[in-house]
């Protein structure tokens, strides 16, 4: 009987907390929108047929702000204004030993729409060195598969990049194509290093989408 009283008291005390929680739940779902970015250039190059090496590239990352949904100038690379950078197949995040922001990332297996909340146990990786990046730049290990027969890069379906942004907020993104115009059947003559992706950015700092 005593136990029951304690239980009842706790329930009463917790009630306002639960309802406020529910309120929090509802409002962000309405504000988080999914944006699609098309043909974001990621240092496009042409390949020298004699050496097989890329020509004409700037070797610079295209830095992107998810909050603003626009490209950030490279002069701002040492700020927390950008969240993710693109150069060829390499993706960088704005966090870690070699960055200035609070960012991080990990790759989750599943459908983009099914990811409603980033688990509290999720471990975000950061960019520790140019060869130790949060998002591994290797076939089958990160976001893409490289086909040695067709030499095409295909984003692995069912891989969601979960991001902590440069200013410590959360976002999720799914890369849809690596070729200009997102052709249904890319070929070796398709223009590579053009990203089409979609993302959701949660501005309120919560982990819910």
């Amino acid at each position: 009987m005593k136990n029951f009283a304690v239980l009842l008291a706790s329930a009463v005390l917790l009630l306002p907390a639960l309802t406020s929680c529910k309120d929090d739940n509802v409002s962000p779902v309405q504000t988080v929108v999914t944006e699609t970015v098309r043909d974001l250039a990621a240092d496009p190059v042409r390949i020298d047929p004699a050496t097989g090496r890329p020509l004409g590239g700037t070797n610079r990352f295209t830095l992107y702000s998810l909050r603003e949904n626009r490209i950030v100038a490279n002069s701002d690379s040492a700020t927390n204004k950008w969240d993710i950078g693109f150069r060829g197949t390499m993706l960088i995040v704005n966090g870690g030993a070699i960055r200035s922001g609070q960012g991080g990332a990990y790759i989750s297996t599943g459908l983009f729409d099914e990811l409603k909340e980033i688990p509290a146990t999720a471990e975000f990786r950061t960019d520790q060195s140019p060869t130790s990046l949060a998002i591994p730049n290797a076939s089958g290990q990160g976001w893409y598969n490289y086909n040695t027969q067709t030499h095409l890069i295909t984003p692995i379906p069912g891989r969601v990049i979960v991001l902590r942004t440069g200013d410590g907020k959360f976002a999720k993104m799914e890369i849809l194509s690596y070729y200009r115009g997102a052709p249904a059947t890319p070929t070796q003559t398709s223009e590579a290093r053009y990203y089409t992706f979609r993302f959701s950015f949660q501005p309120d700092g919560s982990r819910r989408f």
Partner: protein
């Protein structure tokens, strides 16, 4: 080698037993029953063997007008020719590296990425081709997981000289001479063949042809002497050489940079065999087989003559072997054998000359407990210098249910040793930006690169990988045959193969410049299963019909587990919407047709010297490669459409059989698929003249 064991009493025993079931065997049916050696290493009638065996006769190959082994095999039920660095053989859904190809019982070497190029083998002097399906490692060791194809060459039976010439589409010319000589105790034969073609081109707008011109020579000799009733010595030798042009584009469509050169393949083997028959109860053989395979290729840029690429590959194989058959009662006999294989490879892509050796022993017991039963058990133990040892048992049995129906079942273990490439490769592809190291090299090479500061990240500790194990299979075959009339025969065989420890490449480390370093690990588990049905019917004295069908289902077990766990997805290429893959979307392993079928009609008028035939071969739709990034076969765009090839030939003999004129057409429907099946030319017309003196 075919006649090696002819003397053994066991043959008579089996024949008499068989005749007990079919007293009034017609001539027709006896033609359907051939002596084969491959299934048990002793000569047996096909009808008594408790495992699935196909025999292709010389007569059938002649009537088809086949020149090379791939042409013969692609028309057989349950066999598919698949292309990966050459045209190889797929049996029961296994890739080409899992079927052993023998000539007179001795293995052919020289595989590229696991494929043994079947067009290397001319069929002009072949007596018959024996195909044993199901695991045969219990007798033959490595590579015999799916089965064994044994090419039995002719033994001289009389003095004979035969010459033939054939010319056809793509300026394909084949010249053959076949000389045979026999005197009481001694015989010899010599086979010479030259084959050349101008090739063809599906994309004339680009530099280089789809198939470049090539020519090759086959020289094969055999000699045999019978010293006494006990001792017989034979020597056979074969030499093959092929030269092919190489013209290819190293640049792009905008900026051309063509290169050109030559490639050469050489393949030779020598096999002295001493046969003995010590008494009525013992017979046996000792052999010393030696084989070499060598390729050389070089090419230069046409623009400035500088070297683009130069490479060689040099493989040797030496195998002493003994075999003894002990017939200790009419119901029991045992075959024992032991041997050693010494192999080496030296090539551009290897650090140094690499060697390995295998010591092995096998035993097989044949038991006839009752008139209706035939049971064979056996096993083989292989001990390899690099990957360890392997035991491969097998048991098979046949039960004669009624005089018209026989049932059979067999189960066994097969294995494939890791090959030189997987153990010792040291290959850096600078253009595509990756390296592949064999498992015996990877620890040392990664350490060396680490010292040089070239390793950015080790993703998989090569020390933890350990040595490669052999790839292993457990296989079951159940079936039977039904002979409703003397003119009709049906065969059915259900099969299931579970293969584990399949060796695949995996990223071990990444260089500081981002390039991946691959090595090999025992990773995958796959299965293949299905059923094969085959029927022949002698419609009249002149016309025979045959038809066959195979249903094949395959899958990667870990892919299926991941699909069941909801971990594999696909993206619609147009809408870019990602969905979860369901089990029914999964199409199994790439390159396997779920349905394959054939139907043939053969006509022969012996009195008038006419033959004619029409053969239809269906290869059902199969997966070509991943297109949507999930690495499994699921999307309709990942399949090649099924197709039918129709082949026909007709011949007429003149001057009492001395001269034969033959015309034929392969791929009459002119089916081509340049992107998916570039090695399939369109319709080929040909005519040949065959002349023989006895």
């Amino acid at each position: 080698m075919k006649s090696t064991l002819t003397v053994c009493l066991i043959k008579l025993l089996i024949i008499s037993q068989m005749q007990a079931f079919s007293q009034n065997d017609s001539l027709k049916m006896r033609e359907l029953d051939e002596l084969v050696i491959t299934a048990t290493r002793t000569e047996k009638m096909v009808s008594v063997l408790p495992m699935p065996v196909t025999v292709i006769s010389q007569k059938q190959m002649q009537q088809m007008g086949s020149l090379r082994l791939n042409e013969v095999l692609q028309e057989q039920t349950g066999l598919a020719i698949v292309t990966n660095h050459g045209q190889g053989l797929q049996v029961q859904g296994f890739n080409p590296e899992y079927t052993l190809i023998l000539i007179d019982g001795e293995p052919l070497i020289g595989r590229t990425a696991g494929t043994l190029e079947l067009s290397r083998i001319a069929v002009g002097n072949i007596k018959q081709i024996e195909i044993v399906k199901g695991p045969s490692s219990s007798l033959y060791g490595s590579e015999a997981l799916a089965g064994v194809v044994n090419i039995i060459t002719e033994n001289p039976t009389a003095n004979r000289a035969a010459f033939s010439a054939r010319y056809g589409s793509n300026r394909t010319l084949d010249l053959t001479s076949n000389l045979q000589w026999k005197k009481e105790r001694t015989s010899a034969s010599l086979f010479l063949n030259r084959y050349s073609t101008a090739g063809y081109d599906f994309s004339p707008e680009t530099f280089g042809q789809t198939i470049e011109p090539f020519h090759n020579y086959t020289l094969q000799g055999k000699a045999e002497h019978r010293f006494s009733d006990v001792w017989r010595l034979s020597l056979s030798a074969r030499y093959f050489t092929e030269n092919q042009d190489r013209n290819f584009e190293t640049g792009t469509a905008q900026l051309s940079n063509p290169a050109s050169g030559k490639g050469r393949i050489q393949d030779m083997n020598v096999n002295p065999v001493l046969n003995f028959k010590a008494s009525g109860k013992f017979c046996g053989r000792v052999s010393l087989y030696h084989s070499k395979y060598r390729t050389d290729a070089s090419s230069r840029y046409l623009s400035n003559g500088s070297l683009f690429d130069e490479s060689f590959f040099n493989q040797t194989f030496l195998r002493p072997e003994t075999q003894l058959i002990w017939l200790f009662s009419p119901k029991h006999n045992t075959t024992f054998g032991s041997g050693m294989v010494q192999e080496s490879v030296e090539a551009t892509r290897y650090t140094q000359r690499q060697q390995s050796h295998t010591v092995y022993a096998f035993a097989q017991h044949e038991w006839l407990p009752a008139e209706k039963w035939h049971i064979i058990t056996g096993g083989r133990f292989d001990s390899h210098s690099v990957y360890g040892s392997q035991f491969s048992p097998k048991i098979s049995a046949q039960y004669q249910l009624t005089p018209k129906i026989a049932l059979r079942a067999s189960g066994g273990v097969g294995f494939k040793a890791p090959d030189f490439r997987q153990l010792y490769l040291n290959f850096i592809n600078n253009a595509a930006g990756y390296s592949v190291f064999g498992t015996e090299e990877v620890v040392r090479l990664i350490q060396e690169l680490q010292v040089q500061g070239q390793i950015g990240e080790v993703l998989f500790n090569p020390d933890a990988a350990g040595s490669l194990r052999a790839e292993r299979s457990l296989s079951w075959n159940f079936g039977g045959k039904w002979k409703p009339t003397e003119r009709t025969l049906f065969n059915v065989n259900f099969f299931r193969n579970d293969i584990q420890d399949l060796i695949e490449s995996q990223v071990f480390a990444r260089r500081t410049n981002g390039q991946n370093i691959f090595s090999y690990r025992n990773l995958s588990r796959v299965f293949t299963q299905g059923v094969e049905i085959d029927g022949t019917h002698q419609l009249s004295d002149k016309i025979s019909l045959s038809a066959g069908y195979q249903l094949l289902l395959t899958g990667d077990k870990s892919a299926i587990e991941r699909i069941n766990n909801g971990e594999i997805f696909r993206r619609d290429p147009v809408t870019l919407i990602t969905t979860r893959l369901s089990r029914s979307d999964y199409g199994g392993l790439f390159g396997r047709s779920r349905h394959m079928a054939n139907a043939k009609i053969f006509y022969e008028n012996k009195a008038k010297g006419w033959t004619a035939n029409l053969r239809a071969i269906y290869r059902g739709s199969y997966g070509l490669g991943d297109r949507n990034g999930n690495l499994v076969l699921d999307d309709p765009s990942e399949y090649v459409n099924g197709f039918v090839t129709l082949n026909a030939a007709a011949s007429k003999t003149f001057f009492g059989g001395k001269l034969r004129l033959q015309v034929g057409a392969d791929n009459l429907l002119n089916f081509t698929d340049p992107t998916a099946i570039p090695n399939m030319p369109g319709c080929l017309l040909w005519t040949s003249l065959h002349f023989q003196i006895r």
